[in-house]
């Protein structure tokens, strides 16, 4: 005996519901999320949310790849600031002695700095390659940003006197080759950042000086002199020339002549980051040698 259900009966809905349940189950099993991936994204989101709540109360545009760009900018700023602090050292008040970053060892330190940056870039690049091999999009983005920050540091350090530019170029070209090796297999999720990092690397290589920057005569000086350091010598006939040079500002090129009127004591004004050579007209002659970020030191003698 067959039970016939009236048309429109609630029982007719059962097959439809079953069809829905079946479809829902198929969707759930076929499009199941990887728990590890979900956990990784969770950690990343919470870290970024925490960072944002610390830095600002009003949310800014924290979206997708833009957040990576922000992270990259922050990393580059940190590196740039760190480099800046290494360069800018305060001049002791009243000192007539040239004070240079790192003292007389600055040139070698600059070379070492570039070398250390290149080492760190090598390490960062290895992490990029490892992240790529493990096919981890999020990690790949992260290490790409770190590598990008190292490139920013290299771009600054290779310009320092004493850097072996040829060696730096060879290493950077080698890194570019490694990076190019994975270019064809980068996922769309990383493509934009990868492209940006590759462009940065190419930019650093292109901007390398054609020949090594010679170490300065004064081993401490890391910058060139400002033009026209003017002598502010006051005629002081009976006194030994004393430098009253004040610390100059800025970086400059050129050799300056200082003119001083007086019997003795010409004061050369050396400006920040350079060798200022001051010549005087008068009874006494003397040179003022100003070194990086320092006061010129006058050594005149009476005629």
């Amino acid at each position: 005996m067959t039970l016939r259900l009236p048309a429109g009966s609630i029982f007719e809905l059962r097959p439809k519901h079953r069809a829905e349940r079946e479809f829902a189950q198929r969707v759930e099993s076929a499009f199941r999320a990887d728990d590890v991936a979900l956990a990784r994204v969770r950690a990343s989101i919470l870290a970024q949310a925490s960072a944002r709540s610390v830095t600002t109360t009003r949310p800014s545009r924290w979206t997708g790849s833009f957040s990576w760009r922000l992270a990259a900018v922050a990393a580059v700023l940190v590196v740039a600031l760190a480099s800046g602090f290494a360069i800018i050292r305060s001049v002791p008040a009243g000192s007539s002695q040239a004070v240079v970053p790192g003292g007389s060892a600055t040139a070698s330190q600059a070379a070492n700095g570039a070398s250390a940056d290149l080492d760190q870039a090598d390490t960062s690049l290895k992490l990029v390659l490892t992240a790529f091999r493990t096919s981890d999009a999020a990690d790949l983005n992260f290490v790409l940003v770190a590598y990008q920050a190292r490139l920013a540091a290299i771009a600054i350090d290779v310009r320092r006197p004493g850097t072996d530019v040829a060696a730096a170029r060879a290493r950077l070209v080698s890194q570019a080759s490694s990076l190019a090796g994975i270019a064809s297999s980068v996922t769309p999720a990383n493509a934009s950042l990868f492209k940006q990092v590759s462009a940065d690397l190419a930019g650093v290589i292109a901007s390398l000086p054609s020949k090594p920057t010679p170490a300065p005569v004064n081993p401490g000086a890391s910058h060139k002199p400002t033009p026209m350091p003017t002598s502010t010598a006051t005629p002081t006939p009976t006194k030994k020339p004393v430098s009253t040079a004040t610390p100059g500002n800025g970086k400059s090129n050129g050799k300056g002549n200082g003119n001083g009127n007086g019997n003795a004591g010409g004061n050369g004004n050396g400006n920040a980051g350079g060798n200022g050579k001051g010549n005087r007209n008068g009874n006494a002659s003397g040179n003022g040698n100003g070194n990086a970020g320092s006061n010129g030191k006058g050594t005149g003698k009476n005629h």
Binding site: R26, D34, L38, R42, S192
Partner: protein
Amino acid sequence: MHESAVDKIVAKARTGDPSSIGSLYDLYAARVYRFVLVRVHQPSDAEDLLQRIFLKVIEALPGYQPRGLPFAAWLFRIARNTVIDHDRTRREHSTLDEIAERTDQRAGPEELAEVAFERAAIRAALELLTSEQRDVITYRFFAGLSPREIGVLMDRREGAIRALQFRAIQTLRESLATGADLLASGLSA
């Protein structure tokens, strides 16, 4: 979870409470992931988009008004827009789209093949639906939204959503059954 309970979590998350943000993620991440994966095909893209979507949600949370629009509907509106944006930019990277689809690497080759086939079959079946039906099905079965929430999102009445879903399920049922038959006949041949 009841809507009012979700609203309480949302209220705390709006203040930047990490624990509440984590709870929201735990509630919706798998659903958002499924919703995204059916559109973008590649799990790596889906993970990236999942992250983008939740960061957008966190950013927009202070401006969210619970009145009128259920949180889930609001969240999936953001998800949908993010996927659309991704589709636009994806065209610029078309050469990279040839990369083979990656799946859970812990699975064996047979299981991977099975999952890949199932995904392809479901995507192909969805292509047979009208645009509206497809939206309803993805919101309902991938995002797990209720017909009421879908109605709010699509600016349609709940009854209309149910009707669209009913017709869509019929089409899907037929096409998926046909696909399975074709596969069975292909395997036996």
